[in-house]
Amino acid sequence: MRNLVTVLLVAALAGCVAAVKVESGQKALGERMVVTLDGAWNQINAPGLGPAQVWTMEGMPVDQLLIYTGLKTDEAIHAERSDGNTKSFKFRSGMQPDEIVALFEGMLTRDGSSFKLVKLAPATFGGGKGFRFEYGLTRKVDNVQLSGIGYGMESRGELFAIVYMAPRLTFFSRHETRVERIARSALVKG
């Protein structure tokens, strides 16, 4: 999280950050995933981001929606750092839902933030059998307490997922329903 903020800040200062409007309606994400949006979002493009698409309603770092559109085995779920000191969290085909959630937990706590799983249950996502999780995150860099939800599923050995987080007060509840609708609309082509 802190890395993402740093990347965005540095990129913004260098004039490399682009916020692109994502229009409402049906939207193809990657080669195999389609979602339907009932409102516009902002997609953040900057060097050093990835592999997830980063969307926001309120602006970074207030809220963010990470969208994974077909992560393959041995690919990290976060942008790789070159310092060699930080553990990478990599997806493997065949991972169970609890293991995938642990990947997200690892990614979100690399900066010392604190993650608390609230609920993990089976759910339909992308038109297939997946899972849904709820979590709380206390961000180390500024002590802000966030709430989050995520959905995921594996299809043909690739990971499709969306993970949303926003400050627990005001912002999360403002956009939670919208994110749930995106998750329910998601379709992954077989």
Binding site: D98, A102, T109, D111, G112, K119, L120, A121, T138, N143
Partner: protein
Amino acid sequence: MRRRGFLRAGCACGALLIPGLGRAQALSDWQPPTRFARPDISTDEGGLWAMMDREETKLRRSPFTIRDSDLRGYVHDIACRLGGEHCSDIRVHLVRTPLFNASMSPNGMMQVWTGLMLRVDNEAQLAAVLGHEIGHYLARHSLERLRDAKSRSAFAQFMGLFGLIGAVGQLATLAGAFAYSRDHEREADSIGLALMRNAGYDPAEAAKVWDNLLLEIKAKPGGDPASSPMFATHPPPEERKETLMRLAEASPGGVTNERTWQEKTAPLRHEWLGDEIKRGQHEESLALLKRMIERTPSQAEYLYARAEVYRLRAKENDLDAAIADYDAAVALGTEPPQAHRGLGMIYRLRNQSAAAKASFERYLQLAPEAPDFAIIKSYMEEDRT
């Protein structure tokens, strides 16, 4: 008067830097300075104190600060025994961060991270680290460093001395531990040992802290202690350990208070072990847990934690090792419910459905409010079909 006291202390500390037995001799002669008065705000030191006061206000509100008043009071008492006359100037804050670190800023704000509390075996070992930090405080090393920190980058490193929440986020960085000079570290070691001895602790425990930390660093792939940020500006660890041992031999005896330490930290140990597991530094965690299990074989929490690390690492033979540790924890009868969850996961992976079902059932029975209750139920149903 204050300046004179500081100079006296400085001279005494300087004497401690004489190599060999001279140091041990100086250890017995060392006298702490008198209490520091609050510096004028218009001075560089006054500005530093004001800045640290603001950081302390943030720290008090931080959700990472541990509110357990019993443990806080206990650690504060240890710091007070070490600080002596300076006790009333020391404020201890316990911070939930799974790394080995403590720091003390010039205004008397002391931070003790949970990764340190997990790693020390007894009160004396914690006192060794706190005494070292109080040593920096008494010798006012941070002021010297501030005056050295002329460049912006050096200033950033200087801020890292105090383990500030905002400045220290990187788990890979042992911030707060590497920005003093080697001479300052040697001096703080010596003062810390003198404080330990004065407080009645066994000074021999100080060298063990570094010994134990070295075990973890060496266990890491490519784990060369010399290249560890922990030792970037610290004296070489072997030198440090030997010096501390030699100093301790000159004034043997004292208490460790191991039982009290274990009792006081027991309520939070499960949480700290969970944070350690989540660091994902499997080799370091295994070295730590191996040592803890050898020391306290009847502690089911440690066996469970090591089993989890093996299960998550999942290298060759790791799952067998995990099962052995889970089983040992269960045999003790004080295992956390998650031990059964871990067993169920491994049995499921190995297509041992009946064993997986039994373990999952036990887990859900013991932890009906578990956040992953529904997904575990779904695993059981999948395995049945």
